[in-house]
């Protein structure tokens, strides 16, 4: 096949590169300059005086604590998902029970429930359960809303395991439990890493549940910290962008080292 350059698509992709790259450049440049320099010379100019105050300033205004809270939430959400989803997906793929297919249908429908739709009763239920302003009150609903997509992705991965392997283990007299631990889990590592990344991103980037279900500084997560920073010191743009940049660092690191798993995890995010 002849390869001629496609000028239209090429030009479009360059325009898009500028649209994406420029704001990111302005953001990074702004975080390395003083507030005065940014205000007087404007966002598009080259940074004049170099400083790291915007990053240290973010930590001074409590972002260390917010980071810790976000890490706790993320680790726990991933833990809950890893505990619940593999057995669920195993049942979806292997069980012949009618109940299981109904359960699968329930989770498919669950894909379409937006967090916004349940936030009002969630506030009521979490308050009633005494979990208001408690990280556990953020972890549980966040994990629950990761389940449908994780179940879909992981059951897809488990379907790819060859039936002969199951038959072989059946002939050996293996129990469902043994098949799960010795066959299904080891062979669905790709799917497992996808759901880990997916649920970690959901937890790390989650905003609505923390916004509504927490209140005090000691339970604040990063996204909420950014929002508060913006409403309180919206005028200190370099400081604000420093905080935004810090919130991105862990995700960017995963992007560098586990790009494939991350992209697949992202595909699960589904336009949220």
């Amino acid at each position: 096949m002849k390869r001629r350059p496609n000028y239209l698509a090429g030009a479009g992709s360059l325009v898009w590169l500028v649209l994406v790259g420029l704001p990111l450049y302005v953001m990074l440049a702004a975080t390395l300059r003083t507030r005065q320099d940014y205000a007087s010379k404007g966002p598009l100019s080259f940074p004049g005086d170099f400083t790291l105050d915007n990053y240290t300033g973010a930590f001074d205004s409590g972002f260390g604590r917010y980071f810790l809270n976000t890490i706790i939430v993320t680790v726990c959400v991933v833990g809950v998902v890893l505990l619940l989803v593999p057995p669920l997906a195993y049942a979806i793929v292997r069980s012949r029970s009618r109940v299981t297919s109904q359960i699968f249908r329930l989770f498919l429908l669950g894909l379409a429930i937006p967090a916004q739709a349940v936030i009002v009763p969630m506030f009521y239920l979490i308050t009633e359960a005494g979990l208001y302003d408690n990280l556990l009150g953020v972890i549980l609903p966040t994990a629950a809303f990761c389940l449908p997509m994780s179940a879909l992705v992981l059951s897809g991965a488990m379907r790819d395991i060859s039936p002969e392997l199951f038959e072989a283990m059946t002939v050996d007299g293996a129990s469902p439990r043994r098949m799960f631990f010795q066959l299904v889990v080891p062979l669905s590592r790709g799917g497992l890493s996808t759901i880990v990344v997916f649920s970690a991103l959901q937890a790390w980037n989650g905003f609505l549940f923390p916004l509504v279900l927490t209140q005090s500084d000691s339970t604040k997560v990063i996204t909420l910290g950014l929002y508060n920073f913006q409403t309180e010191h919206g005028i200190d743009i370099p400081g604000l962008l420093g905080a935004v940049t810090l919130s991105m660092v862990p995700v960017l690191l995963i992007y560098l080292f586990a790009r494939r798993a991350l992209v697949q995890g992202l595909m699960g995010v589904g336009g949220k």
């Binding site: 992709s13 669920l88 109940v99 329930l106 239920l125 179940a151 996204t223 919206g234 743009i237």
Partner: protein, 318 residues
Amino acid sequence: MSTQTTSAPTAAAASKEGRRRPDTAYAARGTRPGFLWALPATVFFALFAIVPLIAVAVLSFMSWNGLGSPQFVGTDNWKRIVDDPVMVKSIWLTLLLTALGVALQTPLSIVLGVWAAGHQRNRAVISAIYFVPLLLSSTAVSVLWRALLDPNFGIPARMTWLFGDGNLFGEQTTAIGVLAFVSTWQFTPFHTLIYQGAARAVPQVLYQAAEIDGAGRYRRFFHITLPQLRNSVITSMILMIVGGLTTFETVLILTQGGPGTDTTISAYYMYQKAFQGFDFGAGAAIALCLVVAATIISLIVVRVSGYDKMRSDMEGVS
């Protein structure tokens, strides 16, 4: 929701089934896992997603101010939101923003996705930058753009020849423009990924045959690539619509629904009603409207595109 009734009656049906077909029951006991494996996740999901979903329907007929216990008030909340001009306006704004999102993102992400589907090395590098907005939370994206578009210290203030007084948040048209732009900036990479995967899955034979027939690049794009992307277009559009209906952070952080109520879309209005006006009943009623809209669309997802097709779209992703 019909989902709430599934577990009990089907459990009965399954046990009856088991008696009629002993081989299945045996298989379930022996080498295949039973539904008990699915139970912990299902209970957890029911508790934190299905129960609130039922509760939102119940709460929409109750009055609650956040303290004390909710009181039953019949259709009072519904009457109020139907008569509320801000609510009616918010529905139109939601539809407008959703439509704008689809209209902007679909052509853009198809072109970028098809372009990025090529295997050249420079494309891999450039697409790595493309996908960065995807990694950011909606909060970070909105805060970033609020700062970049700041009326006093942002980019528009420096480019008054293009942006007039530099305040994009002061008028409805420009404020809606900002919201549509920021959503496009944030979500186009995601849809680009969908199209990239799908475009790579188009059989090369089709292009070779078209080339033998003398079809040019643009003809090949419109007569082969686009028709082959049909399922992805459906999937991606539905995701855009659901995403558009539930847009919240962007509005909260960028415009706070303003100027006035000119960008107050339904999800944001629900938040205002419930958590700023402490009118949780009305908030629940608006939320229920969102659920119904999202459910109808999701049923279309399962019907038209089928979840298994969504899976095959994802398999093309590298």
